[in-house]
Amino acid sequence: MKAFIVLALGILLILVACTVEKPSLPTWDVDLAIPLINEEYFISDLVDSVNIVIGDNQVLHLIGSGEVDTPEVGTVEMHPNLDEQVPLISGMDITEEIGFIDSGGSAELSYGKFSSGIMRIRFSNVVPQTEELRITFTDISTIDGNPLQVTYDDNEEWQDIDLTGCVIGELDSPDILTDLEVSIFASSSLPDGTPLALFDIELSGALLFEVFQGILHDFEIALNNYSSSIDIDYPSNVDEAITLSDAHLEIDVTNNIGFDCEFIGFFEARRGDVVERKQIVDPNGNNYRISAANSEGAVVTSLIFDEGLSRLMQIMPESIQIVDAMFLVDSASGAGTLRENDTLVANYVLDAPFRFTLHESPVMVEDAIKINISEDNKEYISEDLQSASLEFKVWNKIPVGGKVKAYFSVDEEIDPEDSLSYAFYKEIEVASAQSAPDWQNDLEPLVLSKQELDFFSGEQIYLKWEFIFEASQGLVEITASSADFMAIKSTLRGKLRINGSEL
């Protein structure tokens, strides 16, 4: 019995001597490799069909377009300053011509429809034996189509004849009306040749024509001013990093008036306070001429203009417009027709192909991006993530390469020149298609230390991008075919801390 107790106690002693710890998990780190991205970014995805389009040979083009027009041209004004007195003699039945010339010399009429105008007439010193006095203006027709006619009706006062709605001259006549043809008939009981009365006619006020045919001298039609925006967020300094090769402007002028005319104007590009202006003239330095509308309607004249335009586009404009512009109907325009409601419309397209020279100059995206991280993820980053590394592979088929720098800060104002304005930055360098035609597998990974990771658990995080292009050897051209893309594969490698806990 004693031995049994001794042995039993011996076994119990062995068991009791073994300490079994309370179950709990220790803390350890695991390495995670998480696929981050595997994408192909095609140049053609940049095409918005508005400001960026694909042109000939698949070349990408920056496009700015707009439309400007004139107000309705309104009435043509003439000032004949006519003041004639004609003695009326018994038995008179004759035709006379009265001069009808614009005193200012700005218009020569062959046909017109009055928008407004007053003709003043008066019969005076009429003898009592007068039977009939009748004046007919053969060149002027009333609204009902009959020649304008005035007769004596015992009124010897001045009379105003409203010419509104009347027409003068013959429609589409090639002849300029320099005289008004007037038929005069006078009869009385007195012998023929006896003076019967005096007839006065005055056209001293302005005659306004809603339809005018003839010749105009220096008739100006001003263009309204509309600017057109180019909806592209250019990074700052991009104008220093890129020198555009060429650009051209095409203006299609739709002319509804029956005169050809001269186009006078400037093309202006603005970006902030920076303004570039270029006069729109042909290669010889002359103003373009716009063809007249014809019998079939409006005629479109295309103006191609490229001289010096790349200098305008070089500022990477936010808006473009045609300014200080007008159409001028001048002596060289010849005879034509103009209606009160006629307008001219100019549609313009500014076209800058993506053909440029790259310079190794930093380009900064204007605004810092605020990074929003949920509180849960902040805690996760702060407590669990020990380090992280982004590994990249890039296949760049675009003839543009360079460095991309990401600046991180707690402040929105990030200045790469001021190291105090940001917490840290990371950069990756991607070679252009010319420098590295195949997959670039040896890119330096972006490594984030624990201290840098902890930055992302802060209250506010801002990111600002900076690009420094690889200087090009001459011009590069960006095309948007299916072979123009940048493929990126990336894996996030992180060291994750598994925090211990009691079970």
Partner: protein, 416 residues
């Protein structure tokens, strides 16, 4: 002791592949076929039920045992893991170093309910719980090191769990002299036992297919398809045939075939619980889209049967006045919840330094599927009763910090 039990609770998973028929076998590291007498012979070799022996009774809970073990973690490593503040690369390797493709957990519990012998027959009832589980080494490497490989594939071979609990009511008859044995050959006795099994509950891994890939070109993908089959209340049967011969007064040999036509058919509740998750070509850059599908569903299953694999056991026992030596070889014919095709050899020794103080020692040799098991037991014996206590250590000669498992067994026999 509470600490040991807590260790057991942590480790517990499903069934032992070498389920012990009764707790007393713990005393001899499973080398027990020819040592079992009385009610225990019902489970070990019914041929040994003999009318010449005293009547024997089992009392509830008197013969009970519990066993937990695993193949990779000893107590020292466990303590290291749970008490370490941080785990470095050296510590991780310490945990993984003994895993041979997977970490396997086993647990068994046997509880006697009642039993009595009547002449050369016996009737008994006992309860059994078996549990085992496997988790592949790759799974643990993934948890400890992260996804350092591009692809991880997990299947049922190395990732599974199952548990089975049932009660048997066994009737055995023995001491049947095999006829037509030539006189110059020692007498051979036969016996058989039939067990009606009442299944309490079972759960088993029906399907386990998990594929996780993470590559730069294809993104991260997960395809997980796991099914657990559960059953509640079932009925079954198993039979045992045994032969036994006392070749000389000091040498016995025997052979048994257990689990003949053994099965439990689950009837009352048969469910399949399906867990699934899938994601395809996931990149962080598109993680905000609805790319992850997961869920679980439970549906009724058709009736299913848990087969109990047939095992053959060969044994020899050498007897002496003060000591006995035994050897048992067990060979299963299929890999089932209770059997293994990998055979195992165990040796047992009993000592009687004094008539009332039996001591036991057992050792089960290790192989590819079975760890080294070493048992120590002692008892207190009187003319009509015996009470015993045994402890068994896994993969270590002595129970302690290097043990990868432990068993406890108690035995109470009363005879008259």
């Amino acid at each position: 002791m509470k600490k040991i039990i807590s260790f057991a609770v942590i480790s517990i998973m499903a069934v032992s592949a070498f389920a012990t028929p009764s707790a007393k076998s713990f005393f001899f590291a499973d080398s027990y076929m020819l040592r079992a007498n009385g009610v225990e012979a019902n489970y070990w070799n019914p041929a040994k039920l003999s009318a010449n022996n005293d009547s024997d009774i089992w009392l509830p809970l008197g013969n009970s045992g519990v066993q937990i073990s695993n193949n990779a973690l000893d107590l020292d490593t466990y303590n290291f893991f749970v008490s370490a503040d941080t785990l470095n690369a050296e510590g991780k390797e310490r945990i993984l170093k003994d895993m041979d493709g997977s970490i396997d957990f086993n647990s068994t519990a046997n509880i006697s309910l009642i039993g009595v012998t009547m002449g050369n027959t016996a009737i008994s009832a006992s309860g059994h719980f078996h549990g085992k589980g496997m988790l592949s080494e790759d799974f643990l490497r993934l948890a400890l090191y992260g996804n350092t490989e591009e692809e991880y594939r997990f299947n049922k071979d190395t990732n599974n769990a199952s548990a089975l609990s049932y009660i048997d009511v066994t009737y055995g008859i023995g001491d049947i002299i095999v006829p037509y044995i030539p006189e110059n050959i020692p007498q051979i006795k036969a016996g058989f036992a039939a067990s009606l099994l009442t299944g309490i509950a079972c759960v088993e891994t029906h399907k386990f297919d998990v594929l996780f890939r993470s590559t730069e070109d294809e993104g991260a993908s997960l395809d997980s398809d796991i099914e657990l089959r559960t059953g509640v209340l079932g009925a079954g049967f198993k039979g045992m045939l045994g032969l036994y011969s006392e070749i000389t007064p000091w040498l016995e040999t025997g052979i048994t075939v257990d689990n003949i036509a053994g099965f439990i058919k689950w009837g009352l509740s048969k469910d399949i619980i399906h867990y699934y998750a899938s994601a395809d070509s996931v990149y962080i850059s598109n993680a905000d889209t609805d790319i992850f599908t997961q869920g679980n569903e439970r549906y009724k299953s058709g009736a299913f049967t848990t087969n109990l694999g047939t095992e053959m056991r060969l044994a020899a026992l050498v007897k002496h006045k003060y000591a006995t030596l035994s050897a048992d070889w067990v060979q299963g014919f299929s890999n089932t919840v209770n059997s293994s095709k990998v055979g195992r050899l165990s040796f047992g020794a009993g000592f009687m330094p004094t008539p009332f103080l039996p001591l036991s020692l057992g050792i089960s040799l290790p192989n590819s599927s079975n760890p080294l098991k070493v048992s120590y037991g002692l008892g207190l014996k009187s003319k009509s009763s015996e009470i015993s206590l045994a402890i068994q250590s896994y993969d270590s000669l002595f129970p302690g910090y290097k043990s990868k498992g432990i068993s406890f067994g108690t035995a109470l026999r009363i005879w008259f």
